[in-house]
């Protein structure tokens, strides 16, 4: 067994658009990363950055146009129908909207039991029930919830049901697509704690997709920053939050409201201007250059390669320049 649970190289996802034969939207371009076994990798970026498309491509919910995703010794992106179906046992996902991801006509017991019916056909009803109850306890659901329907639950409880279903087969890799962003503030931290506990207890390798940077800091060991489908920076958590090397990472961190009025108001400085450009017409060279406070002429001409600066890997021509004041 290698130390990496998942190794992604040069992942590219293109969508052909209706209306015009040559209209192609490139949502993800040459994305690569390694997820070490038992770790959590955060993928952050604003809407349109391609973070959910990466998750969907890895789970084969949308077709990848190019790339390799090595998982359990095979390339996920090249698997045929039947081996892919078998592989899903090891590869599960938790969605953003917990209620929308649960079948409203199924009872909680049926929802959590369904993966067992599919992948553990030899278990009898009593064995399944035992496993379901143990998992419910683990995620903080009560036995009395067994026969209820999803609509009877609040968002946080519904997310617990989604987590129980995803973990029922003891997957190796768990993809969490914005798992706490739709929840009420007082519930977010409950679910963030639960996911972290489960990750440790079950030695899960987790891809944690989120736009909430503080939640990513709490949940992840490594962080990948995406912009317009490209990797801007990958770094260990502490390096990324204390010494970001990409001007976009820096701008993202500075945009997050500080929950302390004195510090928030002392911060000063104008926010990053502009908005993420259309992926139909990405800027030449570095895609971030149209909003970048330190862009130069070469940034319009050359696409910056991902290179090592300090503890980070950064795609910026100017990263690491001495005296550079981001």
């Amino acid at each position: 067994m290698s130390a990496a649970a998942l190794e992604v190289r040069d992942l590219t996802v293109r969508f052909a658009l209706a209306g015009g034969r040559h209209r192609v939207l490139q949502a993800v371009t040459n994305v690569g990363f390694t997820l070490p076994r038992g770790e959590t990798l955060g993928i952050v970026g604003e809407s349109g950055s391609g973070k959910s498309t990466i998750a969907r491509a890895l789970l084969r919910l949308v077709p990848a146009s190019a790339g390799v995703a090595r998982f359990r010794g095979v390339d996920l992106l090249a698997l045929e129908h039947e081996p892919l179906r078998a592989m899903r046992e090891h590869l599960q996902i938790i969605f953003q909207d917990p209620l929308a991801s649960l079948d409203p006509r199924m009872r909680v017991a049926q929802i959590i039991e369904e993966p067992l019916l599919e992948f553990r056909p030899r278990l009898n009803a009593q064995a399944r029930r035992t496993l379901v109850l143990a998992m419910m306890e683990r995620v903080g659901l009560l036995h009395s919830h067994l026969n209820r329907y999803p609509h009877e639950f609040s968002g946080g409880q519904a997310q617990r049901i989604g987590i129980a279903r995803a973990l029922m087969l003891e997957p190796e890799l768990l993809v969490c697509d914005e798992p706490i962003s739709a929840l009420d503030v007082s519930i977010k931290s409950q679910i963030a704690n639960l996911l972290k506990d489960l990750q440790k207890q079950l030695h899960l390798s987790v891809l944690f997709i989120a736009h909430d940077l503080a939640a990513v800091r709490f949940s992840c060991e490594r962080v990948l920053v995406l912009y317009l489908g490209r990797v801007m920076e990958i770094a260990p958590r502490d390096a990324l939050f204390s010494a970001p090397h990409h001007p976009y990472t820096r701008a993202l961190l500075q945009s997050v409201p500080i929950p302390d009025p004195r510090r928030a108001r002392a911060r000063g400085g104008a926010p990053l201007g502009g908005e993420i450009p259309s992926p139909l017409a990405p800027p030449s060279g570095c895609v971030f250059r149209t909003r970048c406070p330190i862009a130069e002429a070469r940034c319009a001409e050359q696409v910056p390669e991902l290179r090592t600066v300090g503890d980070s890997k950064v795609a910026c021509h100017r990263a690491g320049e001495p005296g550079l004041n981001l």
Binding site: E46, S189, H211, L213, A214, F218, L252
Partner: protein, 329 residues
């Protein structure tokens, strides 16, 4: 603040009767709003924060029963005629909604939508309205305003659409700008831009701004004074610095502590508030927060605690007198 309030809400309640009984969306909420003030209202889903904004505009859903008083410059808005409400709405009190896409008509150009208000409320002619529309778009820092006026909402980014919605709320130079989660649907870099714009507008126009949000971080960035709502009631109100430095309600403190931060020591676990937000259709008899509160004792289960002053400009609705702890049962 000693100046006469622009808006005075007293003991406002909003209920929705149904066969199963009345759902209490808002329960005896009082607040004063001074000219030029930036008031933040924070609460989770079901806290009543949106119902409160809608009541100020007379826009609660049909069947809503309102009691109490909303006085705008001495004019009573509760029970007022549609004509009175219409003259206040839009003209004196502007509204910014959460989702700029649904607040705009997808079939009409930006120019048609912005000038509609100008021609209706300000009785401007076509050309004058167009000129004023350009000024308004400039005021909300939209580049190339003339070109934007000819575009449809779908041609604009989310941040640009929200700027248009803000420009429309400014048409009649309102005294009060209500904003319901105006940045929740936006990306974080765009949120920072819109919050900076709202701060700047408040300084420039002297309009009072009421911003409703679930995000204490947003409150810390912009508000002067804060109301914390839970289950239709105000549970704490204070100046923004005081609220963050010395919260006196266990719910406020729990919210404050449960926010993950970008710097400082990384906790092994995030402090959290146990349990779930209450169902507005089935509230407990006493304090609605009691089932989730580490400090709850017998008295909390009886009658709900009234909002009581604990320091100048600082009030809370809680019976507990000792030192607050965060951990929940």
């Amino acid at each position: 603040m000693s100046s006469t309030p622009l808006l005075k809400i007293s003991e406002l309640s909003v209920g929705y009767p149904s066969r199963a009984g009345t759902t209490r969306a808002l329960d005896r909420v009082s607040l004063d709003l001074s000219p030029g003030e930036f008031l933040g209202i924070v609460g989770e889903s079901g806290s009543g924060k949106t119902q409160l904004l809608l009541a100020m505009l007379g826009l609660n859903a049909q069947g809503a029963q309102l009691a109490g008083s909303i006085s705008y410059r001495g004019h009573e808005l509760v029970g007022a005629s549609q004509r009175t409400l219409a003259s206040v709405r839009g003209r004196r009190i502007g509204m910014i909604f959460q989702d700029p896409m649904t607040a705009l008509n997808p079939y009409l150009t930006v120019g048609t939508q912005v000038t509609e208000g100008l021609r209706l409320h300000q009785k401007l002619g076509r050309k004058a309205a167009w000129r004023r529309a350009i000024e308004l778009l400039e005021a909300v820092q939209i580049p190339e305003p003339e070109r934007r006026l000819g575009q449809h909402p779908h041609e604009l980014s989310g941040g640009m659409r929200q700027r248009i919605v803000i420009a429309m709320a400014l048409i009649c130079e309102p005294d009060i700008l209500l904003a319901d989660e105006p940045t929740t649907a936006l990306d974080v870099t765009v949120q920072a831009q819109i919050l900076a714009l709202l701060r700047e507008l408040r300084t420039r126009t002297r309009a009072a701004i009421v911003l409703v949000t679930h995000d204490l971080g947003v409150i810390a960035e912009v508000a002067d004074r804060v109301l914390v709502m839970y289950a239709g009631r105000v549970v704490e109100q204070a100046g923004v610095e005081e609220l963050f430095s010395s919260a006196r309600h266990p719910y406020t403190l729990g919210l404050r502590r449960s926010i993950a931060e970008l710097d400082g020591p990384l906790p092994e676990r995030l402090p959290s508030i146990g349990g779930n937000p209450p169902n507005p259709a089935a509230l407990p008899a006493g304090c609605a927060f009691a089932p989730r509160c580490a400090q709850a004792f017998e008295r909390c289960l009886g009658t709900p605690p009234p909002l009581v002053s604990v320091a100048p400009g600082h009030a809370r609705a809680c019976y507990f007198e000792g030192k607050l702890e965060v951990s929940a049962p």
